[in-house]
């Protein structure tokens, strides 16, 4: 084990710079300790824990209906998927069959969330690389999606729409109409994303060949989501172990073999198109029926361990739930995608410039509260 004092040692010509916890491009309170030689990065050490809120421990004292709301605050950009994962774990324990309508609604909401999350990521990537304008173009479309969320779920970011057995409320009567409008708008505007950023020569230079992560490394660091798929690892839970209504839709798992920042960028851009296509397939085929299965007022799970995983916008979120038969969970553990994805950062950033580190962090698409929980 490395002693704390060892970390501060520098070699001749090196110096340490602290990036964060307050820094424009760490997107939160991540603290990176960087050993630099000139502009070249010798070593990066992420320091975590600045936003630890003990969500896992707190959940042990909450009932099975109540602990779901807190997961919206982990990866707040894919709050729906986080809630869904918890709901799925509870349903696994209850052995309750979720109505078909609820499944489709969950899938629709999850894909809308993925779209909005990827749009925010796209804007922030531009921002981190110094192009401020794309951020506002991304927010224009994201705002439209957020209004749909507000209309149906009642909140824009931390929706808390999933409950064990289905969803909290039925879809808003205008949901289909508005979603179709938003889809048309997004399809109209996606080419602008390519014009202003993807095709730009400066952007290509900043991202191509930067932050390379090989397939083997991606697997051994436990990377998931678009980051691993950009290195050629097939890891889409929606394909490997379909949940909700993902077995009813046709979509591609986007794979790239580049492994660099540009590949990660392209994978996410293509995923946006896939999300649009998934929503298009489902929006006209929402089955009639209940939006929620009947569950008891006080939920008690049988003794045992339950594990469910979903594909959030950033990767695989696993919910490990231990029940001792009481009304609240005995132990909950979230396997959050950002924590594992971040662990590859020191490997990728070695030998890069400071500017590259910013590009790498942007394309990992970190959400800091998800790392600490």
């Amino acid at each position: 084990m490395r002693l704390l004092g060892d970390d501060i040692l520098t070699e001749e010509g090196e110096f340490i710079i602290n990036m964060g916890p307050q820094h424009p491009s760490t997107h939160g309170v991540l603290h990176l300790k960087i050993w630099l030689e000139g502009e070249t990065i010798k070593r990066v050490q992420p320091h975590l824990g600045y936003i630890h809120r003990s969500i896992e421990k707190m959940s042990e004292s909450l009932s099975y209906r109540n602990f779901i709301f807190a997961t919206s605050r982990m990866d707040y950009l894919s709050a729906h998927m986080n809630n869904e994962a918890c709901a799925l774990a509870v349903e696994q324990g209850l052995e309750v069959e979720v109505p078909q309508r609820a499944k489709v609604i969950r899938t629709l909401m999850a894909e809308l969330t993925r779209l909005s999350s990827h749009q925010l990521w796209w804007g922030c990537t531009g921002l981190d690389l110094g192009a401020v304008t794309p951020f506002f173009y991304a927010f224009r479309e994201r705002e439209a999606i957020m209004s749909i969320m507000e209309e149906t779920c009642g909140a824009r970011l931390t929706q808390n729409y999933m409950v064990p057995g289905g969803v909290m409320a039925d879809l808003h009567p205008d949901f289909q109409k508005h979603t179709k409008e938003v889809l048309t708008q997004i399809k109209d505007k996606l080419h602008e994303y390519d014009e202003v950023l993807s095709g730009n020569v400066i952007f290509e230079q900043r991202t191509k060949g930067v932050g390379f992560l090989s397939k083997e490394d991606a697997i051994s660091y436990g990377c998931t989501g678009p980051m691993a798929r950009a290195s050629g690892v097939s890891c889409d839970i929606r394909k490997l172990k379909p949940y909700s209504a993902y077995d009813q839709v046709q979509f591609e798992e986007i794979l790239d073999t580049g492994g660099d920042c540009y590949a990660r960028y392209m994978v996410r851009m293509a995923e946006m198109k896939q999300s649009v296509s998934i929503i298009e397939q489902l929006i006209d085929n929402i089955p009639e029926g209940d939006f929620q299965a009947k569950t008891k007022n006080v939920i008690k799970l049988p003794k045992g361990e339950f594990y469910q995983r979903v594909e959030t916008a950033r990767g695989e979120l696993g919910v490990y739930l231990v029940s001792d038969g009481a009304a609240s969970p005995y132990r909950i553990k979230y396997r959050s995608p950002n924590f594992s994805n971040l662990s590859a950062l020191p490997h990728m950033a070695k030998g890069a410039k400071i500017g590259d580190l910013v590009a790498i962090m942007a394309t990992i698409d970190l959400v800091i509260p998800d790392i600490d929980r």
Partner: protein, 158 residues
Amino acid sequence: MFLKEYFGTIYKASKSLLTGMKLTGYYFFHPKEIQTHEYPDNRGTLKMADRFRGEVIMPHDANNEHRCTGCQACEIACPNGTIKIITKQEIQPDGKKKKRIDTFVYHLELCTMCNLCVVACPSDAIVMGQTFEHSVYDKKQLKKVLNKPGSKLMEGVE
């Protein structure tokens, strides 16, 4: 060959840069595309979605009657301890003692607007209001009593 590649790079680079400038230039000369909402100037016309979760409110009818029976289902459902219900014993006209609500304390500063209390309420006594301008100068003002003074339980609600 080298020259061809060299100038090819320059040509491609300038083309991609000009494409980007064309887009931003388009928006510069088309102010109609501006998305800004001028809050608070548009406060009069601003309409929140009808399911928007701004705060918990307890609707009262014209006779100052509410539907809250004081069953404390919302208090149990709340994950943050936002709601505290203080009950009292009330003597009914037929002489029986019944549990009735005294004060419904709602801590707005703790509330995460998760809607679980509204879902849990068996008599639809509380709903989510659409107001969102909650900022005040003193934290104490965020502690609210939802049942109005002198209000009663509505007839026929048990």
